[in-house]
Symmetry: C2
Subunit: 207 residues, 2 copies
DNA sequence: CCCGAAGCTGAGCAAGCGCTTAGGGCCTGT
DNA sequence: ACAGGCCCTAAGCGCTTGCTCAGCTTCGGG
């Protein structure tokens, strides 16, 4: 009984944001930022989508920029978590890379509204907030670079330029958030599988 | 003598924009839009960068959105021109794909300020203007898809999903505009060569 | 039964926005 | 010499923006 009233922090999107009014505002902001962009979205629009008055926003968030920062930080943490979990599941470097790419892409496609805000609105953050986010992004980079390096050492991969290829792989995955459309023909799972195959071809040593 | 006073439309960036004041304003707008984004840029900022008063903008452009449209249209035309020229140079599908990718990437890296505006500010256009631009983008898509199809037919490529791979190749190239940095270690030429190699690996049939 | 904290709203402020207008130099054709 | 068009500026209009604040309601603890 009591458990049913609690928010399921693990499975519900943005479950970690409380109280409920703060979460409703944040979800509304993600929607609006993804649709129009941060600078084109007004605080009145966000409050309106959440069914509240403009003033309500400032009870839960100090500024509009703090809202973006909360979204960006939680989003980056989730994306990084997805990537690290996938890369830690064991197997050959090839298997780990395929798992990492397909799940990272699934996240960017399935949660493309969040991903769009997270990946394309970094410039709107304050200097300190942006620095914090950039640190998280470096960890994503390290995960992919690590897998590539291991594959090269074992001879399974042939990658002349590991940092450059890391950049390309992450860039490919991230840009899914830009073009992915729910009305489109592909499901997040299909795009994930396609991209995992393409990336494996990019790095595999010729037989 | 007379020729020296004319603007070199072929070789100078934005040479086709006249008179000079209109070009100066447009160049300033590209700078500002690339740096801060369309919505975060004010008409006063654009005019200031061009060394003119805010009102001067409205002698040459009806609205701020028309300025973005001019930039977007010319930019897309130039990018498409680069892609079509490269793909038309002849050779095997592999050679044409390598040429297309490396020159398209060189454009996105070398002119990354323009490319950033062109690729990431589409949402700010009016419906009619956006429709015009989308038509140009479909032609880019057709160029890459055509090369892939030819390579598959000749047996040089092994591409199970031609539309999906076309999307991935273009996405990879376009996203260069987001991350490329002049202060970074790589030149546009280096990134172009790296990406051409990666894309060839993605589509080539195993020997 | 009352008290204070917490959550929310209606009204509105100061600042900045896109854009307009009146007016003045300057170049060109007659 | 001078009329007429072209560029440009100073000033500012009407509106929207992010954000604030006084006051109302709700609710758990003593």
């Amino acid at each position: 009984m009591a458990a049913a009233e609690e928010t399921d922090c693990e499975n519900v999107p943005w479950g970690e944001v409380t109280p409920e009014a703060a979460r409703k505002l944040l979800v509304a902001a993600v929607e609006a930022f993804a649709e129009r962009g941060y600078h084109a979205t007004t605080t009145r629009d966000i409050a309106g989508r959440a069914g509240m008055s403009p003033a309500a926003l400032y009870i839960h968030y100090k500024t509009k920029e703090e809202l973006l920062h909360r979204i960006s930080r939680i989003g980056h943490e989730r994306a990084l978590e997805v990537l690290e979990t996938a890369s830690g599941r064991g197997g050959t470097p090839g298997e780990r890379l395929a798992e990492a790419v397909s799940s990272f892409v699934r996240w960017h496609a399935g949660r493309h509204d969040t991903a769009r805000v997270v990946q394309y609105e970094l410039d709107a953050l304050s200097d300190e907030h942006r620095a914090e986010i950039v640190a998280l992004r470096r960890r994503s980079d390290a995960v992919v670079r690590g897998i590539l390096r291991e594959g090269v050492e074992s001879g399974e991969f042939d990658v002349p330029d590991v940092p450059g290829t890391t950049l390309a792989v992450l860039s490919l995955c991230i840009d899914v958030a830009r073009w992915f459309n729910v009305q489109g023909r592909r499901t997040p799972e299909e795009v994930g599988a396609l991209y995992a195959d393409l990336v494996l071809r990019m790095v595999s040593a010729r037989r």
